[in-house]
């Protein structure tokens, strides 16, 4: 990437709906990738430390490509670094699910599984969308995320159908994070506006497929699918939980302290 530009508004959303649409896809991956990177050096076993770091790398790589594309579409001179490091919390468009803290390993795995199941279905649909550059990035990322989904669903089975302690913790994580899943499938004005540009995916169909997949794995893991209808949303329009600001402060401090630095 070239020298980061700090031009552009730090807080406001994008006027172009396609930019907002791309930021939602990019920010999910950047934020979750950063969360996973927090495990680096702290994994429960060496192989898992490596796996979580590898998945972080894939997600941040995808985010970088998507942010670069968003910057190009926006035409305000912001590159991927400018969008990652010089947007404030309220300009981030990720879903609330991915910004939730790592918690114990069960929380990290449940969060990852719920997202991976969504991501694979979403990227598959996007790989056939009407925007060639977005479709290309989605098709590439899909291949990597299939590995992620296999990994996180495997851990769901191990933890859910493991010891009483791992079962209880995984169920608790599922019950806690469930409220953030609805937001992944809610259509709003941005989706309607990009659909008019030929860029859209069938979120209702993806929700149904996702639910079936999640129910299948949860059942096989001897866990119980939550029935609570409590929902939390707002990430897609920049209203985040208290956790994102703290995460971004750590993620952005070096770039903001030394704008334009290279190494």
């Amino acid at each position: 990437m070239t020298r980061p530009s700090v031009a552009g508004n730090r807080t406001s959303g994008a006027a172009n709906p396609l930019v907002d649409y791309l930021l939602r896809i990019a920010d999910d991956r950047l934020v979750l990738g950063h969360r996973l990177s927090e495990w680096c050096g702290h994994g429960p076993i060496l192989e898992e430390d490596i796996a979580l770091s590898n998945m972080a790398l894939d997600l941040i790589g995808a985010a970088s490509a998507l942010l670069a594309l968003a910057g190009t579409v926006e035409e305000k001179g912001r590159d991927a670094d400018a969008l990652a490091f010089f947007r404030d919390e309220t300009a981030y468009r990720n879903a609330l699910l991915v910004e939730q803290p790592n918690g114990d390993f069960a929380v990290t795995i449940v969060r990852q599984f719920l997202f991976d199941a969504y991501s694979v279905l979403q990227l598959d649909a996007l790989s056939r969308c009407g925007h060639a550059d977005l479709a290309a990035i989605a098709a590439k990322s899909l291949k990597e995320d299939k590995y992620h989904l296999r990994h996180s669903s495997d851990w769901m089975l191990k933890l859910g159908d493991g010891t009483p302690e791992s079962h209880e913790r995984t169920q608790r994580a599922l019950d806690t994070l469930w409220r953030y899943t609805d937001e992944l499938f809610v259509k709003d004005a941005v989706d309607d506006a990009t659909a008019a540009l030929g860029v859209s995916i069938d979120l209702d169909a993806i929700r149904a497929q996702w639910h079936q997949l999640v129910a299948d794995v949860v059942g096989r893991a001897t866990l119980t699918l939550p029935t609570s209808t409590v929902r939390a949303a707002g990430g897609r329009v920049g209203r985040h939980t208290e956790h994102l600001g703290h995460m971004l402060a750590e993620m952005q401090i070096v770039a903001r302290s030394h704008p334009g630095a290279t190494w």
């Binding site: 990738g33 490596i50 790398l57 997600l59 550059d133 291949k143 296999r150 669903s153 794995v217």
Partner: protein
Amino acid sequence: MVAPAVITPDAVYEILGSVMDPEVPVISVVELGIVRQVTVDGARVAITITPTYSGCPAMREMERDMAAALGAHGITDVAFATVYAPAWTTDWMGPDAREKLRKFGIAPPSPAERDGLITLTRARAAVPCPYCGAKDTQLKSEFGSTACKAIHVCNSCQQPFDEFKPL
């Protein structure tokens, strides 16, 4: 070195064939399949590359290595562009590259998945051990020392080994 009188795409490919993957220093960037296109316009060379994995940290290093190798042959006007489609696949690696991997102690990739979108369990044959050739091996993790590798253990010679994982 003085620039060759006429630069041809073939000459560029030949030079790039000497640039090794920094993480797997027995196969070149050409064998790896990341060089998608080379065009030459007079002294200007345009190289199109595609990333192996989205976040592979070696991509920029490989770009620098390619520029340096070309520079050593007097080719200094080089521009790189990145494309994402068609997505990189290990299926682009030829038999020679696969054999080099095996000799280096990395099991070469089996054919990339052609099965459905959701494959929660992978039903595929055990990866043969690159050291002793035994087929009695087990997968330890689909994530290894670099983004492109998985970790296996040979039950016969007891040697842990990397697999270049199919993508």
